[in-house]
Amino acid sequence: MPELIKVRPTKIELVKLKRRLALAQRVQKIVKDRLSILTMEFLQTARDTVEAKGKLIDELSKLYKALSIAAGYHGYIALEKELIATEADLKVTAGLRNVAGVRIPSFEVTDGAKPMKRYNLVDTSSWLDEAAQLSAECLKAIVELAELQRNFELLAMEINRTKRITNALEYVVIPGLQTTINYLNMKFEERDREEKARLKRVKVLVARE
């Protein structure tokens, strides 16, 4: 049973309550729309995350395979010596975008992830080149997964918050307002009836005199 809101039973309060009810219903509509959009985005992000994770695992397994072949070909010590001075350029542009009121990060690898460089091309084999190429692709996949994972978390948090608001509006605020409005209406009707009965009684008394 929804609780009555504690107000004085006056017409002004009734008007105020009606306005508040209209606002609450308008907000409920918008919040519900927002919730459905957030859920849609969340499910899409979940699908994309699973896809990106699978892709990353595939690429990492390919990379480890290529690296172990390269290590087997050159030997660990020689490979380590070659890789000691190498570097991989990675330029990531980070920004924010807005999805239905949620600010979520957006990462993009710019200039393409360049493969590792500065190792000696004469002393190394194509196995190492392949491993370098694959590592660049792995970096790209990691950045993509990082973005999706964070979006996933933020959207989930916002869905929880929005659900709480929707439930509060649906089960507490709006029923409470409606019950109070009904209560006030009944009170005013009762007052009118009392007034009519009083007038009738006065009329009878006046007629007797």
Binding site: K6, K16, A24, V27, V31, D33, R97, N98, S106
Partner: protein, 164 residues
């Protein structure tokens, strides 16, 4: 009308005149929700041709934050359009969510007559689209497809009045 006697009045929860404190807080919270949903709308849209030349393409939103565009998405859009269409297309494209929960509408803001948006959406969805009163109407499953392709180049607008 008789003035209500004191015993008729329901007990007040706080000393506020006529409105308990938590009620005011609730009102603020509800108004805040309305502000939040449309805070991410851009103050102004930019043309695709301009965005392609920017190093960090973005637009400023109503709340002062920035909305960042992915270059890969812009490049994909550019690959679909010729140079005149690139000049006509305004980004981010708006997606209106309104009273009818099954549908969404995309206002055709580009010149002439929003043909560019129509071209992009029909190409992305791989189907002809319905245009009504300067708006392209799409259903929720199509919206998901569209958003999957254009994550940063589309934004949502919430209004109970827009979509009849």
């Amino acid at each position: 009308m008789p003035k209500p006697s004191h015993d008729e009045a329901l007990p007040m929860q706080s000393g506020q005149s006529g409105q308990p404190r938590y009620e005011k807080m609730l009102q603020e919270c509800l108004r805040g929700e309305l502000r939040i949903v449309n805070a991410g709308l851009p103050q102004s849209q930019k043309r695709l041709s301009n965005l392609l030349t920017e190093e960090y393409p973005y637009v400023v939103c109503n709340d002062g934050s920035t909305h960042f565009f992915k270059k890969s998405e812009l490049a994909y859009l550019a690959s679909m359009l010729d140079s005149d269409e690139q000049k006509a297309l305004l980004l981010p494209m708006l997606i209106e969510i309104g009273a009818n929960q099954a549908e969404a509408a995309i206002p055709m803001l580009s010149e002439p007559e929003g043909k560019v948006e129509e071209k992009i959406i029909s190409k992305t969805l791989n189907m002809p689209v319905i245009c009504e009163k300067g708006r392209i109407r799409i259903y929720k499953p199509q919206l998901a497809l569209l958003r999957r392709r254009f994550k940063t180049t589309t934004v949502y607008v919430f209004s109970p009045k827009i979509v009849a």
